[in-house]
């Protein structure tokens, strides 16, 4: 679903861009792996019923499919409930500082092309205290997989509103309602020119796994927003997207090459639904609106958009990301652009492969010198 985007300007030093795909350079194993291989002996300490369990199980479940050597996988997290994640993955891992995981992971990825580096963050960690590092990792296109667990609340500090909480939210720190307009993480990532942007749900194991697999195989920064339920401080935040009675009307499942239709199975190309509340008359589509955005239309409207995540121009993906009803899930954007770490390696390779070998003594004696005998 991705194609190569020609860079706007030529590569440094007049050479060709390094062309690498997916998990190139990360060693694989022929040994058969199972989810159990990726579990640690640490007791998982999330609250019973937390959505994080489902994400952990999905990640541990699909990692064997990648066939990577465990020792070449690194999970880095910040601070927050989700950031305990690395302790439960039997790979290399670092539980770092609030908001700083993308920066630390950038250093790992930029210095070690043989590692598959994953960042686990949350809406507070990634979008509030760490917002700057997030957008810069996205624009640089560092070879990182960033999973942002969005529960729209601060959980570990016991229930304050977060940068994705809806306006007017009543929390401990906003007893008469929050005043902050929230971020839409997908819109933010697209605005930062991320090359891979997706959204999925903790409760939909199949969809979650498919999105994670695509993210793993994307070369560059893959940003995945995961709607994740905090059953203690913000229970039911995504219930309308999960309840069989409402989800078909509430979710727009983005699938490459398929028309953007939601509601029912009556139109060719959309998936089937068994939602009790759904009926053929409620099937609808999405088309370009007159204001430059997108709008809901009849399912048989000839202008219904066909989803194409490989579009180089991110503006359609951005317009779709602005939809709230229905809420789009799936891969919004997946394009190819040289990664920061591949380019950095390329510059080092070029410098080390041309001319005589680097000689420290020669460096120290470079320039004007004089002898005293």
């Amino acid at each position: 679903m991705s194609e190569t985007v020609p860079p706007r300007s030529g590569p440094p030093n007049g050479s060709s861009w390094p062309v690498r795909q997916g998990l190139d350079l990360v060693p694989t194993t022929a040994d058969k792996q199972s989810a159990k291989d990726f579990k640690t002996d640490q007791e998982v300490r999330w609250c019973p019923g937390c959505g994080d369990y489902a994400v952990l199980a999905a990640v541990q479940g699909f990692f064997p499919e990648l066939g990577l050597r465990r020792e070449n996988v690194v999970f880095v997290s910040g601070i927050g409930c989700s950031s305990r994640f690395p302790y439960y993955m039997n790979t290399y891992g670092m539980h770092s500082i609030h908001g700083r995981a993308p920066a630390i992971a950038t250093g790992i990825a930029a210095s070690r092309p043989d590692l598959s580096v994953w960042v686990i963050t949350g809406d507070g960690d990634g979008l509030s205290i760490g917002g700057n590092h997030l957008i810069h990792a996205l624009r640089r296109n560092v070879n990182l997989k960033i999973l942002l667990f969005n529960n729209r609340i601060y959980g570990l500090t016991k229930g304050q509103y977060s940068p994705t909480s809806e306006l007017g939210k009543i929390t401990k720190s906003t007893p008469v309602g929050s005043l902050d307009h929230p971020f839409n993480p997908v819109s933010l990532a697209l605005g930062a020119e991320a090359t891979f942007v997706a959204r999925t749900l903790d409760s939909d194991r199949k969809h979650l796994t498919a999105v994670l697999r695509a993210a793993a195989e994307h070369r560059g920064t893959a940003f995945v927003e995961i709607y994740q339920n905090c059953n203690i401080f913000n229970d039911g935040a995504f219930e309308v997207l999960k309840d069989p009675d409402t989800r078909d009307q509430a979710l727009l499942r983005l699938e490459p090459g398929s028309p953007m239709i939601f509601g029912t199975s009556t139109v060719k190309g959309s998936r089937t639904t068994s939602g009790a509340g759904a009926s053929p008359t409620t099937s609808r589509g999405v088309r370009r609106g007159t204001d430059g955005g997108v709008e809901v239309c009849a399912a048989d409207d000839p202008a219904v958009l066909t989803h194409d995540p490989a579009l180089l121009d991110p503006s359609t993906a951005f317009a779709v990301s602005r939809l709230a009803q229905p809420t789009p899930v799936g891969i919004f954007r997946a394009v190819s652009r040289p990664t920061y770490d591949d380019l950095m390696q390329h510059q080092v390779d070029l410098a080390t492969s041309t001319g005589s070998p680097a000689d420290l003594g020669e460096l120290l004696r470079a320039g004007d010198t004089w002898q005293i005998s």
Partner: protein, 619 residues
């Protein structure tokens, strides 16, 4: 160049020259070039660039004055000199800002073309000081630098504005004649610098030569001066600034450790030159990452350290403040990391281009929790090379973040450097962790019994998969632990590890030629030069004084307490309000006498002579 007219030549043992002009006049370049010529000639030398934080302050104003001082001699010197013997003032602002420093009787070379009524009024001169007796204490050489430069370049085809810009080379030519400097290096330099604009190169060379010829023929200069080469230890020498020496030291450390060098940095004065320099050396495998902010810069470095690189971040005081939390994480993770703080005047944005030593306590204590970090400090520009190697040695051996405290004076100052033989540099190789041969599990926080360092396991090593983080961890296993006794143990282990570094560092050396000193002058960092020069002057005058200088500020050398206790008085000059003095008093209960100045400028040795003499007299 061959002399046209034979004028008398006088010998001097040392000279201090200050070039001063507008920020756009090219004074730093002029000073650098004079210094290069002087280095090539074989004098010992020391330089002090002094420029404003503004890139181009309004022309002709006092805040826009940029100056460069160079001290050169036929013997070993330690400082850029207290007072210039020669001041080159390119405009009235430069004269006004610098005249008070010029030694009485010294040579004052002024560019009369810039002494217009408007330029004079701009800096508050009601009439030209060239026209009254206010300059009678100095030997004034009124030179129409600008118009003579224009005259020399009248056939160059350059516009008046372009030609005028070469006036600094005219001044350099004049000074080069006056002090018998070799000129080939400057001519070659101009050719290189303006390789793509040959007409500009030619014009600059012409202005330079015109300045030289003017010196030979004018009656304004009746004599010229010779300063013979200094006697220095045999070897190959080059001129080097502190920031360049620091960058080279980091590359050398990476080579000697056989580890790739990773720099995470965010631009900040006066540290950016280290980022610029390291960015040039990809041939050595250096990865220089310009981050989005100071926090990301150290974060990326720490990530690279986790990945097995020699990781460094470079910054100045405000940047350290932002990095503090990550330094704390590095303490907890026990990973090697070198944090270079090129100190400048603070607090807050403070004095970005001026020097200070006021980050010592920030480096020592500026973190939450008990978070000990070793500290090393270079004492001269060239010493930044050795200090960088030492900081890397400690970081790699003990798996700890280390502060290297340089400062703006060392960073931009330059001196001759005897280039070391690469084979003589320390071997910094350290082993990475390997899978336990006895089949037991990997223990990320098991410790080397000798130095308490934990193993360094690189991702990609099968069987050593492990998780580390900022939460307190159980001794040996590294698993999350909130156990009270375990926390107490871990806090003490981390402290003991850093304290134990003292066993690997040399004892403090005291210089006391007479052996009769009852007063010790102690210092750290860039005060070495002024203190050393002051002590020599005191001894030359018959006084007895001992000098010692600390490279390691945490931990201190093991004999520090004994040394301090061996003298009746311990005097401690610092460019802060007594930060090292506080540490020493607390640790050794010694009533150290602090002497503190925070003027953004290095101490003058003459000033310290007075302070030392007063203390000697009080014994």
């Amino acid at each position: 160049m061959t002399p046209l007219v034979h004028k008398p030549v006088e010998q001097r043992d040392g000279v201090v020259i200050r070039f001063a002009g507008d920020s756009g006049d090219g004074m730093q370049l002029t000073g650098d070039q004079f210094t290069s010529q002087t280095a090539a000639f074989g004098n010992d030398l020391s330089t002090l660039p002094d420029f404003p934080a503004e890139i181009r302050a309004p022309a002709g104003t006092l805040p826009g004055v940029s100056a460069f001082q160079v001290h050169f001699s036929d013997h070993e010197i330690l400082t850029p000199g207290d007072a210039p013997d020669v001041l080159v003032a390119m405009n009235p602002a430069a004269l006004k800002a610098n005249l008070a420093d010029l030694r009485r009787g010294g040579d004052l070379i002024v560019n009369t073309d810039e002494f217009t009524p408007r330029a004079l009024a701009r800096v508050g001169y009601e009439r030209s000081p060239l026209d009254d007796d206010s300059l009678e204490s100095w030997r004034v050489h009124a030179v129409s630098l600008t118009s003579m430069t224009l005259e020399a370049l009248k056939d160059s085809g350059l516009s008046r504005k372009e030609a005028e810009r070469a006036k600094n080379m005219f001044a350099l030519g004049l000074l080069s004649w006056l002090y018998h400097r070799p000129t080939a290096g400057t001519v070659a330099f101009l050719g290189r610098k303006f390789a793509r604009q040959p007409e500009i190169a030619k014009a600059n060379v012409a202005a330079f030569e015109a300045g030289w010829s003017f010196g030979e023929t004018t009656e304004s200069f009746s004599v010229s001066y010779q300063v013979k080469p200094a006697t220095m230890p045999a070897g190959t020498y080059r001129q080097i600034s502190g920031n360049l020496a620091l960058a080279y030291g980091l590359i050398a450390a990476s080579q000697r450790a056989a580890l790739p060098l990773f720099l995470g940095a965010y631009p900040i004065t006066p540290a950016s030159d280290v980022l610029h320099e390291l960015s040039k050396h990809k041939r050595f495998g250096v990865r220089a990452f310009q981050a989005e902010d100071e926090i990301a810069a150290i974060g990326a470095a720490l990530g690279a350290s986790f990945g097995g690189s020699l990781a460094v971040t470079t910054t100045s005081g405000p940047g350290v403040a932002l990095k503090s939390e990550t330094v704390g994480l590095a303490v907890s993770l026990e990973l090697p990391l070198v944090i270079c703080d090129i100190q400048r005047g603070g607090p807050s944005t403070g004095l970005p281009t001026k020097t200070e030593q006021a980050d010592l306590l920030q480096a020592m204590y500026g973190r939450n929790g008990e978070a000990p970090v070793p500290i090393v400090a270079p004492r001269s520009p060239a010493d930044c090379f050795d200090a960088a190697l030492e900081a890397c040695r400690i970081a790699l051996t003990y798996r700890t973040p280390v502060f290297l405290l340089s400062d703006g004076y060392l960073a931009n100052g330059a001196e001759p450097w005897r280039i070391p033989d690469v084979a003589s540099l320390p071997d910094l190789r350290v082993p990475f962790a390997t899978v336990p041969s006895d089949g037991s599990g990997y223990l990320p926080y098991a410790r080397d019994p000798d130095n308490l360092a934990r193993p360094w396991a690189r991702p990609g090593t099968p069987g050593l998969e492990h998780r580390i983080g900022g939460l307190e961890k159980a001794d040996r296993t590294g698993a999350i632990s909130y156990d009270p006794d375990n926390h107490d143990t871990m806090v003490r282990l981390r402290q003991a590890k850093v304290d134990g570094i003292a066993r690997s560092i040399p004892a403090m050396v005291v210089e006391d030629p007479s052996g009769e000193a009852r007063v010790l002058v102690l210092g750290w960092g860039s005060t070495y030069g002024p203190i050393g020069a002051a002590c020599r002057q005191v001894r030359d005058a018959g006084g007895a004084v001992a000098q010692a200088h600390l490279r390691h500020l945490n931990p201190f050398p093991t004999n520090t307490g004994d040394v301090l206790g061996a003298y009746d008085r311990v005097l401690l000059p610092e460019m802060n309000l007594g930060q090292l003095a506080s540490l020493l008093r607390a640790r050794y209960l010694v009533d150290v006498i602090p002497y503190n100045r925070v003027r953004g400028m290095p101490f003058k040795s003459g000033e310290l002579v007075g302070v030392i003499t007063d203390v000697i007299d009080s014994v």
